[in-house]
Amino acid sequence: MIHVKNLSLSIHGTPILDQVSLTIAEGQIFGLVGESGSGKSMTALALMQLLPTGAVATGHARLDGTDLLALPEAGMRALRGASLAMIFQEPMTALNPVQPIGVQVAETLLIHGAADRGKARKIARDCLHRVGLGHIGTEVYPHALSGGQRQRVCIAAAIALRPRLLIADEPTTALDVTTQAQILDLLKALVTEQNMALLLITHDLAVVTDTASRIAVMHQGRIVEQGKTTDILRRHRHPYTRTLCKASAHRPERQNHAAPEPLLQLSKVVRLYPGRRQGFFRRGTPLRAVDGVSFDLHYGESLGLVGESGCGKSTLARAILGLEPIQGGRITAFGKPVSPQLPNALRARIQVVFQDPYGSFNPRWRVEHLVAEPLHLMANPPVGRARRDHVAEALKAVHLTPKDMDKYPHEFSGGQRQRIAIARALMTHPDIIVLDEAVSALDVSVRARILDLLATLQTRMKLGYLFISHDLTVVRAITDRVLVMQAGRIVEHGATRAVFSSPRHACTRTLLQAAPGLRAM
């Protein structure tokens, strides 16, 4: 039904896609897998003819015999939304915040003149019902919905005209595991029901293993291998597929070096957020974001903290870093209490690496300045030559060269930036590093290298890691013990292997079941 042949694309003369050919049949889910920059999204945009200015596409892309590349813009407009629909990664920004969701779903129908206002509204209601949002009505605005619900609205709008092909570009990357599983189930059911084709674009091999019947692996603008999912993943004919599979199941070599004495101790920690304003002076009951959490972290130990988004993981991290006050219990590090008044000498021993390799650096600073920032915590920070040497040493520790010091952060890739973030965290020779989703935004092969790096650094410097993540594969690969958090409480804790093989709490079981392909790999 969809037949792409020798699709090549260049933007301002830079080749992006090279001879991409693929075929998708009715009722089939086709997975397009590759790392960032491999050209997956550009393939999708070429099919939709939504390419950026300066793009030149050659080859054929036929939908039921019509060549999409040869169609004029007016013809494409008639197809977009009707025969070809697309959903995106970021459901937060894909919806218009000032329109109720019913109107947004009905919009496609009205634009294509498929129904009058009343009928469109009725179809919109049916579509929302179909994607599992029947109970919330059509008059709700996007801000009142969760990420998963917003993605459902996007799906409802996409299927309103029963498209022949639905393109889903990283539809679940921004969602947590349980929501991801639900969205994938919904997409699967819709494909069978409407007999449409689904092009599922993702960087996550685990997502396609359970979902797609055929996959294509993309690398540097080329499809290196395609075929039945089971074949591709079992045989690994192409070396790149092999690397990709190996990287996504990668476990760094490490031994449990945990020393008996605790570095960090939390006892019945409570973090409250003020309740919703009720009237002018009254506030509702405060929200217990962290509710009686207790645990220890030892020298040289990796402790995992997992849970769905909104369970209080990051709030807890900020309290441990001494950035926010706690309203109950106590946090002690190295035997001293942790609070926003933490003295600099102690603060130097607890450092952090954040998720977003793009947002963690001031774009106007050079790497030397960025990495040297925590030196502010030292009583006598090195200056000039000594500072440069210090930075050079930290950069070398994360396998970057001292020459990188004079560059700006935008000159680096995501993985390199995360190395810079680790270098920055190492500057003050800390004992504890909080890794808040530190590898979640990275491609699998980059992730594997960063995990190796973290393991080596841990052995060398006896670091204690608090590894916060929603990605269970990563947590299993790098942690000794794991804590499962739900609604501000620790519901299960224990040795990682034990918790993963025989989970006791319902929440842990849901998380494990939802994690795609965790058992398969």
């Binding site: 870093l321 954040f354 963690s360 650096f361 925590p374």
Partner: protein
């Protein structure tokens, strides 16, 4: 898309022209603007007087040149006052967001905003007497809330970013973070706002001079040149058209430059253009 749009070029060229003229008037003008030669009044354009003379026999070109200096000086200092006080206030409000000081600063700004600015400016100059200094103060005060709001709005967005959290784990305080991280990242917003406020300052100065509350005679000023030409607008229209045109071109140039700079500096718009 052109990287450096035409409108920005025109804006920069016009602004630069007036700036250079004003600077030149510091060291050289064709004729002394304080000497009145009644015998040579209302002369048409000639080689000695390229734009003619006014009703007191002063050279119009020289008047315009010195007038540009007055306008630019008043507007520049007024914008400076607004930035020097407004930006720190806005940064402080953002750093202490949601707290009582934030509310006090921003509601105080609302209070100043709520007054019709020109009326208050007239009040100030009427009480303290008309002079360039009082005009500067009057215009400057109304620039404070503008810069405070722009700074606070931009800063709030920057405060949510991870690198601010990283700076906090590096033990840096609010003042230091505001100076090192926030200010450089909202500088583009402030620059654009400054060009816009600058052109509004020129207009305000002209308006105050027009009603006789700006720079005192004999210091030439575009606004007063307009006022003085008013009675002769039918017999000698050039006397009004020349200062009026100067004001218009200067403001147009600054606005074009402000718009162009915003397009060039605002990353959101820049991304959309690519």
């Amino acid at each position: 898309m052109r990287r450096f749009p035409l409108a920005l070029w025109i804006g920069v060229a016009l602004s630069a022209l007036f700036l250079i003229t004003a600077l030149l008037s510091l060291v050289w003008v064709p004729h002394d603007v304080t000497r009145l030669v009644i015998a040579g009044r209302l002369q048409p354009a000639s080689t000695t007087f390229p734009l003619g003379t006014d009703q007191f026999g002063r050279d119009i070109l020289s008047m315009l040149m010195v007038g540009a200096r007055t306008s630019i000086a008043v507007a520049l200092v007024a914008v400076g006052i607004g930035m020097l006080i407004g930006v720190p206030l806005g940064l402080a409000a953002a750093a202490l967001r949601g707290s009582l000081p934030d509310e006090i600063i921003m509601r105080g700004n609302d209070l100043i905003f709520a007054f019709p600015s020109l009326v208050i400016a007239i009040l100030i100059t009427a009480v303290f007497g008309p002079s360039a200094v009082n005009a500067i103060l009057a215009i400057g005060i109304f620039n404070i809330p503008v810069f405070a709001r722009v700074a606070r709005g931009g800063a709030l967005g920057v405060w949510t970013l991870d690198y601010i959290l990283a700076a906090r784990t590096a033990g840096k305080g609010r003042v230091r973070i505001s100076a090192e991280h926030i200010l450089p990242n909202i500088a583009n917003l402030l620059i654009v706002q400054a060009t816009i406020q600058f052109s509004l300052g020129i207009l305000a100065e002209a308006a105050l001079s027009y009603v006789g509350l700006g720079a005192r005679p004999p210091t030439p000023s575009w606004g007063r040149m307009l006022a003085e030409a008013q009675t002769m607008i039918y017999t000698h229209p050039m006397l009004a058209l020349l200062p009026g045109g100067a004001i218009m071109l200067m403001v147009l140039g600054l606005n074009l430059m402000g718009d162009g700079l915003r397009d060039l500096l605002d990353p959101r718009i820049r991304r959309a253009r690519q």
